[in-house]
Amino acid sequence: MPVILSTDLIVYFVVSAALYFGLSARNDGRAREVWFEIRKNKLALASMCVLCLYGAAAMADSIRFRDALVDEKGAPVVSSDGAVLYSPQPLSLLDRALPGMRGNSEKTYSAPFSDRLFVKETMETPDGRVVRDYPLLKHPHDHALGTDRIGADILFTALKGVRTAIVIGTGATVVIIPFAIFFGVIAGYFGGFADDAVQYVYTTLASIPGVLLIVSFMLLFGSRGYQGGVVAAKDAVLAVFVPNDRLFWLCLILGITSWTDLCRLIRGETLKLREMDYVQASLAFGSSRMRVIYTHIVPNLMHLVLITFVLQFSGLVLAESVLSYIGIGVGPQTASWGNMINASRLELSREPVVWWNLLGAFVFMFALVLPANVFGDAVRDALDPRLRNR
């Protein structure tokens, strides 16, 4: 029984869009040019591979389904009215691929590859003496990045954080792109009152400090959303789709606070395109204005959208950690690097220091943001030669 969250749709969309671009690069002239441009840059190519790995992990963690319940004999459990019963806990492909990491939890902290717990415990020796020592782990040498406070494997938590990061990094822009294009084009193309109205809206929104807007928005919508874990019947539509996902609200509000730049860019570009000869010609030949917008203007804005998309990505991933620090980021049950950094603040003041949680978050985040920045630069250079060298 599959379970689809609203944020899963974002991941599906991004992955399929990336695949589409990849495939169309074979025959489409422009896309091919861009591809050649990127291919020249070895660093960007390597970055792209890393990003693909992350994307694959996020994708694997976004395909989830619930298992049918089985009784002791292995036969499926059927309720009195004949329906097959499913476990309320959905598991993603990633969860299923790594059953060891997911299940092998310890009692509390343990260092990477250690065979003992990091915290001393009072134990009784067989001869009845009470000693205080580090107990053996249940799964010694198994945790490549150690375990956290309740003994969960940090490598696994960090891997689960990939999806959160990708969703926020891409989702915020994806959610808001249609609006930005719609309003930007209207303002730029029609001018006059429409232009004034759109400019008014985005200046007003932009002038409210972003963090505060996010805070109030998340208090309003976010706190009632699904935050991971068990899927309750009331959350799911048709037992499959979960529309009210806290992460989705976070994407939406991050989009709202960052769409003004894109909207402004699109408006400016549309203003320019409107005066182009071929657009004027098309109008003269009797094409309707809607058609002109659809066939001539919007396609020529796509490079701006793509550039904004890749450039905003890393900033949004970093923003998540800060928001989680203020307590309005993802929920506590969603694995995220921001939550990991947060936990590690206290761990750093322990003596001896628990450093592996911070390290895990740092490595995973850095290994995503750095390639994203490099790749973003490359994409921009390829798409918009005027901007090269920036």
């Binding site: 007003t204 409210i208 505060l212 109030s216 309003l220 890393s314 970093l318 603040r345 994203a372 490099v374």
Partner: protein, 326 residues
């Protein structure tokens, strides 16, 4: 010029009103007065009478936007929106919900610590960024440039939280060179400011160097620079005498835009270093859900943003006479 400035300010008025309405909408629907009262009255012994009394005391017992019970103008004025949000328009912030302090007075006293951190941080950051950007531009295309760019991308890819936690740990705890956090008044504040300023400068350097380098390179690609080079001027002179002068325009506008926000302080920096500025004030208010303060700070932030916009436009016209006064 004066009429231009006045016109820009007049344009700002509808935006200010829009912000006002929007924040009121957000806040009164996010948190109904009942929620506020319960949160503020605490966990113990909160009776319905106490909640009703709190609402009456703080003027939240009125309808949000329209008071159908009254007649005439009072239909609009006897509402929470009119009583609480409209005075913001003339910067009358009122009193906080939680402990009745005068918000305006509090903001005034907190601006100085915010500025004490943000101004040195901004200035030092600017100097460091421009300096390195010029260096990279000067040595463009060499290994120094390539590695400099790689370094700035690397530095951009690290979360601010890492810089702060790492800085406090290293310089404050391990090496014991600076106090880990805290603040004092007057000159005594100096020793508390060095660490946040260093961390702030390092944290912002990556993005800043990249930005200014682009600005300089763009300027150096222009025709008049080529002419200067063709004249046989040494590269250093070309860069510092001609390119720099003209590159000052984007640098300057970037500076001007940032000025209003210096007053606003930095949320994260101030909490981590216990600096009693406006950022800290805002975080406190968010955490204790004192919406009178949050509302005021949202509004103040918007005003500063709008001031920044106006200043940018004006500085454009001052610096570059080609920009028309529209």
């Amino acid at each position: 010029m004066l009429t231009y400035v006045i016109r820009r300010i007049l344009y700002a008025i509808p935006i200010v009103i829009g912000v006002n309405v929007l924040t009121a909408l957000l806040f009164f629907y996010v948190n109904t007065p009942d929620d506020m009262a319960r949160k503020i009255l605490g966990e113990k012994n909160v009776t319905p009478e106490a909640v009703a009394n709190w609402k009456a005391e703080h003027g939240y017992n009125l309808p949000s936007f329209i008071n159908a019970k009254e007649s005439g103008a009072k239909v609009l004025t006897e509402t929470v929106f009119f009583q609480k949000s409209i005075p913001l328009l003339w910067l009358d912030f009122g009193r906080s919900d939680r402990n009745n302090i005068d918000i305006g007075t509090e903001i005034k006293s907190r601006i100085w610590p915010s500025l004490a951190v943000s101004v040195p941080m901004f200035m030092a950051g600017l100097i460091v960024e421009v300096f390195f950007a010029m260096m990279l531009a000067y040595y463009r295309g060499t290994y120094l440039d390539v590695w400099g760019m790689v370094m700035s991308v690397v530095m951009m890819s690290v979360s601010t939280l890492f810089y702060i936690i790492g800085g406090q740990f290293l310089l404050g705890k391990a090496l014991r060179i600076f106090p880990i956090s805290g603040y004092d008044t007057g000159v005594y504040s100096l020793k508390f400011l060095i660490l946040p300023v260093i961390i702030g400068v390092i944290g912002g350097a990556g993005a800043g160097v990249r930005f200014y380098r682009t600005v300089f390179l763009e300027e150096m690609g222009k025709d008049y620079i080529r002419t200067a080079r063709a004249k046989g001027l040494p590269e250093g002179k070309v860069l510092f005498k001609h390119a720099l002068k003209n590159a000052m325009i984007p640098v300057l506008t970037n500076v001007v835009v940032s000025i209003p926000f210096l007053f606003y302080g930095s949320l994260i920096m101030e909490t981590f270093f216990s600096i009693p500025g406006l950022g800290n004030f805002t975080i406190d208010a968010i955490q204790s859900q004192d919406f009178a303060i949050v509302r005021s700070m949202v509004y103040l932030g918007s005003i500063l943003y709008i001031v920044g916009l106006i200043l940018t436009d004006i500085s454009y016209t001052l610096v570059d006479p080609r920009v028309r006064l529209k």
